[in-house]
């Protein structure tokens, strides 16, 4: 009885999600290595210093442009893409789901709204492809990535931006704008990692984005039950402390990059050494590094998700072979 048979991605979407995530992580590591270079000097050094880090950022930027263009084409030219596009449209139910989530935490509601559910359970028909948070993530990330790409390309082409804005200093403003714009996404990705890695039913990673729809058998059993079926799942022993640690790290990371972004708005990588520049606050340095740690954990979790897919595929292949080999005889239990 599979109770997770709704709200799953296609094979292409899972691959795209992985590539986009890797690309965006590289952009974060290089971009915020530059912007928060006081706090993340080691990232800049790791990527080859001043020249290397900008090169990494630009190559990953090119990758992002390619991915965005690819995705837009897929959404426009395929019927699956068009129907998936309808799935992400926001409705009044999504607002209701957000309000009910707050009530749920405060004990004023017994269940999460169906538009908030990540876990399908027995009433699986009520679970949408994306929760209200999932839709919000798609909206915010889409707008952010588009604006970041446009401003990034303008910065890249210095003569191009100066042509529009007349002075070099005005062009510099675009660098600041670009860096600050990404902060929303940086904070959002930290939340995204927490949300999809630490749901008690899916911990340590929600496989929706890694195991494609076609690899998961669909069954609709146990329609007698009226609950989400979550009480049937066993909680992992490490969930409690792991989620508390990750929650604390996520909150510190978000607060720190937010505070850091208020200070660090200058041109990211100076041509010359400016001694003692920027806030050298130890707390901020620790906090921003914790934020980067959250991103590293996210990257590890997404690699783990892909590993689960590979293992799952192997298991299915193994089962298919075993079943075929033993047809008409004993099941070869090994």
């Amino acid at each position: 009885m599979t109770n997770l048979d709704h709200g799953k991605f296609t094979g292409m979407t899972t691959t795209f999600h992985t590539l986009l995530a890797l690309d965006v992580f590289i952009l974060f590591f290089s971009g915020y290595g530059m912007m928060f270079n006081d706090e993340l000097w080691w990232l800049v050094t790791l990527m080859g210093g001043n020249t290397g880090v900008t090169a990494v950022h630009r190559i990953a930027g090119l990758g992002l442009v390619a991915l965005i263009v690819f995705w837009m084409l897929m959404m426009l030219t395929t019927s699956t893409g068009r129907s998936n596009f309808r799935e992400i449209l926001m409705g009044p139910d999504d607002i209701a789901a957000m309000i009910q989530d707050i009530k749920f935490v405060l004990g004023m509601a017994d269940e999460r709204h169906s538009n908030a559910r990540q876990f399908a359970g027995y009433n699986s028909d009520e679970v949408p492809l994306l929760s209200y948070v999932g839709k919000g993530v798609v909206y915010i990330f889409s707008v952010e990535l588009l604006l970041l790409t446009i401003s990034g390309l303008l910065i890249w082409s210095k003569t191009g931006v100066m042509q529009y804005f007349a002075t070099k200093t005005a062009a510099m403003a675009f660098v600041v704008f670009h860096g600050l714009l990404g902060v929303i996404m940086l904070m959002g990705v930290m939340f995204h990692i927490f949300e999809h890695g630490f749901h008690p039913a899916f911990y340590p990673v929600e496989v929706k984005a890694f195991i494609p729809r076609k690899l998961i058998p669909e069954e609709h059993a146990d329609t007698d039950h009226d609950s989400t079926g979550i009480s049937q799942l066993g909680l992992a022993p490490s969930w409690g402390w792991a989620t508390n640690v990750m929650g604390v790290l996520t909150v510190i990371g978000i607060v720190s990059v937010l505070v850091g972004s208020i200070f660090d708005e200058g041109y990211p990588v100076p041509r010359e050494l400016v001694v003692g520049g920027g806030p050298t606050d130890l707390l901020l340095t620790v906090g921003i590094n914790i934020g980067i740690l959250v991103l590293f954990i996210g990257m590890a979790l997404q690699m783990y998700g892909n590993l689960l897919r590979v293992r799952w595929q192997k298991q299915l292949a193994e089962e298919a072979r075993t079943t075929a080999a033993t047809d008409g005889g004993q099941v070869n239990d090994h």
Partner: protein, 145 residues
């Protein structure tokens, strides 16, 4: 469908964790040694982002004659702060919701609540031994602890 996997032996999680931590620590010391025990942040590229410090941030602000760009940056600052607060609220809401959901789940070591309902998808696999012990608990809805 045969879902059993071959028995495989593995190293203990504790051994892996301890050795990983030691390996990372040794690596860090080796790198530090290789860099001549340098602990000199001043030698690294830095930026003076504030106007007072005279960093390059001051450059564009002093030289910028387009008020629209100043507004744009102030606007994104505001958007960052508002979205940051909103995202923090969402983190706390989900953290809380997850805790409530977790309290409804079968706790570690607890037997399955329905003999026939061993759900192996998404959560921990329910072992057949746990199912056999047959804890026929009543409707588990609303059992928040």
């Amino acid at each position: 469908m045969n879902r059993s996997l071959p028995e495989t032996r593995d190293y203990s999680g504790l051994a892996i964790a301890v050795n990983a931590v030691i390996a990372i620590a040794v690596t860090a010391v080796v790198v530090w040694l290789a860099s001549g025990f340098a602990f000199n942040a001043e030698a690294l590229f830095r930026v003076g982002p504030t106007v007072e410090a005279g960093g390059i941030g001051a450059d564009w602000r002093a030289g910028n004659t387009i008020p629209a760009l100043d507004f744009l940056i102030a606007f994104v600052h505001a958007a960052d702060v508002l979205m940051g607060i909103f995202i923090l609220v969402m983190v706390f809401v989900h953290w809380g919701a997850f805790r409530r959901l977790a309290s409804r789940m079968r706790q570690p070591g607890e037997a399955a609540r329905y003999e026939s309902d061993a759900v192996a998808d998404g959560g921990r696999a329910v072992s057949s031994r746990a199912s056999d012990s047959g804890d026929d608990a009543p409707d588990p809805r609303g059992d928040d602890r």
